[in-house]
């Protein structure tokens, strides 16, 4: 085990700087938010205590329990960080039925930590914590879309439309086909990811073939989806009530863990880890990041830049499609339906941009940023219910905190951009 401790220390070391920056930014954001509350005549301390309820923290013990879960999460991340190379190999070996003691123990430890976390959730029986986790699921996924794009040097803001498409795709499979349990769930999830990716393929092809800038094409396709999906819902996929899709059949629903939280969270977390491994541990991910960091160097290294861009769009589209599905088959919203107003999926893609930025365009960072954002979303109702702080003011306070958190990362990004310009224009 000493190696594990080393690995954890190393991992925390890499986190330290950005973590410190983020905490400082968080403090600033909280202070400005407190100022806002004061200005409108509310008690900021009580306001924030109410907001904490959204994180499932009602008491000191609850706070400690949440800290314990975060610590376990960090431990798990560190563990994956330390044994990154061995986990896929161990899985592959298991797959090939070459069972060795080591591969079993590695997999067993991962399973055990997941088990611990799930046991803790159960033990806590904390509705608000579950609610927060439910809010975080689509956000961590749409964050992937933007983050993977940025890693490949692409400003992919098409998650919004891809979410709609993924949601309606999942609703179609989930509500209109009778398939056996398990298979149905799998089919609906996979199809949503497929359609999300297909929707992302359009700007990708426009970019690769015709050089159309992805900001233009993704924004326009967002609108196309925004008007097209309600049409599909009302005219093609409507159930008893014409303003929403047919109810998702029970066979296509993720099992509920508590409150609005379903097992889809495990799929989302797995997706984040898979994307992490893909980006940092595989050839394709390496190529993608090299293209994003320096396309000239990527060309020099013999990388097919178009392919890397295409892959980034596809990963992003799949993540966004899954985010859409998570709101339809992975969360009991509006009686397991998707409304034609798109209210249950609207804005997720754009929120994902901010979350990706706060998470430093890293899928694991995105998980933490999404949890933070989700807790604030969930805490909003307490601020309003307990103290009558109007929902607009609550949204403003959330916005201030998010912006403050994003500033260090945005600065780093702009510094990087300026540096690249300098390199391009400098004498050598």
């Amino acid at each position: 085990m000493p190696r594990l401790f080393d690995a954890i220390r190393e991992y925390l070391g890499t986190l330290k700087r950005s973590l410190a920056e983020s905490l400082f930014a968080l403090l600033i954001g909280l202070l400005i938010g407190a100022g806002l509350m004061l200005a409108f005549g509310y008690d900021p301390i009580m306001g924030y205590i109410s907001m904490l309820k959204g994180f499932g923290i009602f008491t000191i013990e609850g706070f400690l329990a949440v800290l314990a879960i975060i610590a376990l999460g960090l431990l798990l991340a560190a563990f994956i960080g330390a044994y990154w190379a061995k986990i896929p190999q161990a899985l592959a070996r298991l797959w090939r039925k070459k069972i060795s003691g080591r591969s079993i123990s590695l997999v067993a430890i991962v399973v055990f930590i997941l088990f611990l976390i799930s046991r803790m959730l159960e033990f806590l029986d904390n509705v608000e914590l579950m609610e927060m986790l439910a809010y975080s699921v689509p956000l961590m996924l749409t964050a992937i879309t933007f983050a993977v794009g940025m890693r490949a040097g692409i400003f992919n803001i098409g998650a919004e439309g891809q979410v709609y498409m993924g949601a309606v795709a999942a609703a179609w499979i989930g509500g209109h086909f009778a398939l056996p349990t398990g298979l149905h769930l799998l089919a609906a999830t996979a199809f949503a990811m497929l359609i999300g990716a297909a929707w992302a393929l359009l700007p990708a092809i426009l970019k690769i073939r015709a050089g159309v800038h992805e900001v233009i094409s993704t924004i326009m396709l967002n609108w196309v989806a925004f008007f097209h999906v309600p049409y599909l819902i009302i005219n093609r996929f409507a159930g008893v009530h014409a303003e929403r899709t047919a109810t998702i059949l029970p066979t296509a629903r993720y099992p509920i863990l508590g409150a609005s939280l379903t097992a889809v969270i495990f799929v989302a977390l797995a997706a984040c880890v898979v994307v992490y491994i893909l980006l940092w541990r595989t050839r394709a991910g390496y190529e993608l990041r090299l293209v994003g960091d320096n396309p000239d160097a990527a060309r020099y290294a013999g990388i097919n830049i178009r392919r890397a861009i295409l892959i980034s769009f596809i990963i992003g589209g799949m993540a966004a499609g899954l985010a859409g599905a998570s709101q339809v088959i992975g969360r009991p919203l509006l009686g397991w339906t998707l409304p034609a107003t798109l209210g249950t999926v609207f804005g997720l893609g754009f929120s994902g941009i901010g979350i990706a930025v706060i998470g430093r365009n890293h899928p694991i960072g995105g998980i933490f940023a999404a949890l933070l954002f989700a807790g604030m979303l969930n805490g909003a109702k307490f601020m309003e219910y307990d103290w009558g702080i109007s929902s607009e003011l609550v949204v403003a306070i959330q916005g201030v905190i998010i912006i403050a958190l994003a500033i260090p990362a945005l600065l780093a990004m702009s510094r990087r951009g300026v540096r690249r310009l300098k390199i391009r224009r400098g004498p050598r």
Partner: protein
């Protein structure tokens, strides 16, 4: 200037000025720095400047000589207010001053021209100069600026059209603008950081005559360099720095090259002795190659050349004569419009960089930060840019991190690269020399059959230059064919078996290195037929 406080401040400044603005006597000490020390946060134990004394006199041209990393630029930046000093004192005309910003320095009469350009490209020359004026409240007195610019450029022969936009100007002209920008403030001390690094030989010559003219007017001129020729050609005094320490200051006329080399290096260099080449089959053959340059203008106009196994072919030429385009065409980075590139007999014209690299070619590119490295990625990731596809660097599409770590560590120790942490350090924070070593290591460790190298030792200290040259000769012995492009004739002569001179996109002559003479090559580089 409506703000009364501002007015007060500005009048105060004006009141300070006459003390400095008095015309200095020739030989008077304008700036004196005493015991200057500089450390950067986190590395206090290692001072970048270790208690340096330095002075500039009116009417002199003072060369600041040192290897890369000796601290020349840091010292210049301290004097001109860009960096703060950790310890020490600065006196201007005998009075102690505190320089907190470049603006302070300019007001005290110290101006600096940086190595990198700091111009706004879409704006005109006049506008760029006006941008730096603190007196202008958004309404720039453009006509006035233009008038003064014309006067200045005539006075010193700094030929620039004030109405030209920066993006239309050549590197040499841009540098003149940079100098004008500083001269506009009428500084008494002008500091230039490696001013010739982007200039042609002619441009460099005219620059030094301009500097001379300025000194004659009673200004003090300091230029930073690591080239001995420039020291002897143009300076009155020379100060040598080594690893952050002052080695000495002396009159240029009272020293010689050998002494300076020893001061700079702390020892003597001897270039490796060449052994006659045992050449083999043709490795690289270029036939009647035509390539377009950046603006669609023909840059390579019918070049043919061959490089054989175990041979180093040096391409000598002044920058901008088509070398870059030639190399890019050979390595697959630029489209060939006409002609052929054959590598080991196989036609590789207009094939992808990957296919060409897979033929067994290493490429040390000219622009190491722009294309040679990905600066936002870690050092280890930069080490595998060319190899990540191969086993054991990766297996079944997964990267083999333990092997990559092991390999990178080996490279680091073999090439003396300074890297804090393989997997954490972003490559951008490495110094130019370390990046160059990283690229050298990456492109040569696998002993490629063919190497295309442009300025392989640019930015390296003399020891590393020696090490690199030995490396090239060792590879040559093992049968590697090398195409070496360099502006540094010393390098060309000490490595090449044959030398080809490129001028305006054509090879104007090829000769055996043993029979070639520097004088003749120089003339050919300048355009006269061999």
């Amino acid at each position: 200037m409506k703000n009364p406080l501002k007015k007060l401040l500005s009048s105060k400044r004006k009141g300070k000025k006459p003390a400095v603005a008095r015309k200095p006597r020739r030989g008077e000490t304008l700036v004196r720095a005493e015991g200057i020390a500089k450390g950067f946060p986190g590395v206090w134990e290692h001072l970048i400047l270790d208690h340096i004394n330095f002075d500039v006199k009116a009417g002199e041209v003072h060369a600041l000589l040192g290897e890369n990393g000796a601290g020349k630029t840091v010292l210049a930046n301290i004097l001109s207010g860009f960096y703060s000093l950790t310890k020490g004192r600065i006196y201007v005309k005998g009075k102690p001053v505190s320089i907190k910003s470049p603006k302070d320095a300019l007001e005290l009469g110290i101006g600096m021209v940086h190595q990198e350009f700091t111009l706004a490209r879409p704006l005109t020359v006049t506008e760029n100069v006006a941008l730096g004026l603190s007196t202008s409240n958004f309404s720039f007195p453009l006509s006035e600026v233009e008038k003064k610019l014309k006067e200045l450029s005539e006075r010193y022969g700094l030929k620039v059209d004030p109405k030209a936009r920066i993006e239309e100007l050549s590197a040499g002209e841009q540098q003149r603008v940079e100098i004008l920008k500083v001269l506009y403030h009428e500084p008494e001390v002008l500091i230039l950081d490696e001013p010739t690094s982007v200039l042609t030989e002619d441009e460099a010559k005219s620059l030094f005559s301009i500097l001379r003219a300025m000194a004659k007017e009673g200004r003090g001129v300091v230029f930073i360099t690591h080239k001995f020729e420039e020291v002897f050609e143009s300076s009155d005094r020379v100060t040598v720095l080594r690893l952050g320490k002052l080695v000495g200051t002396m009159k240029t006329s009272k020293t010689n090259r050998r002494e300076l080399v020893r001061m700079m290096m702390g020892g003597e260099i001897s270039l490796p002795k060449k052994k006659p080449a045992k050449v083999g089959k043709i490795a690289l053959e270029v036939k009647d190659l035509h390539v377009l340059g950046e603006r669609g203008v023909p840059a390579v106009r019918g070049i043919s050349l061959t490089v054989r196994k175990g041979e180093i072919l040096g391409i000598a030429g002044i920058a901008g004569n088509g070398q870059s385009e030639l190399v890019e065409a050979i390595t697959g980075l630029r489209e060939v419009t006409k002609g052929k590139v054959l590598i080991f007999g196989k036609d590789m014209t207009n094939r992808s960089p990957r296919e060409i690299a897979d033929m067994g070619m290493g490429h040390i590119p000219e622009e190491r930060r722009r294309i040679g490295t990905a600066e936002g990625m870690t050092v280890a990731e930069n080490f595998i840019m060319k190899d990540y596809r191969r086993s054991p660097f990766s297996n079944r599409s997964f990267l083999n991190l333990p092997f990559i770590t092991q390999h990178s560590k080996k490279m680091i120790s073999e090439h003396n690269i300074l890297v804090p942490d393989l997997w954490v350090t972003e490559t951008r924070i490495l110094s130019g020399g370390n990046i160059q070593r990283l690229i050298l290591a990456r492109e040569t460790w696998w002993e490629p059959r063919l190497i295309v190298a442009t300025h392989p030792t640019y930015g390296l200290d003399l020891k590393a230059v020696k090490h690199t040259h030995e490396l090239f000769l060792k590879l040559k012995k093992k049968g590697t064919a090398t195409l070496l492009v360099s502006e540094d004739l010393e390098e060309i002569f000490s490595l090449s078996d044959r030398i080809a001179v490129i001028f305006e996109g054509k090879i104007v002559g090829t000769m055996d290195a043993a029979k070639a003479r520097v004088h003749k090559i120089g003339l050919m580089m300048a355009g006269s037929k061999g």
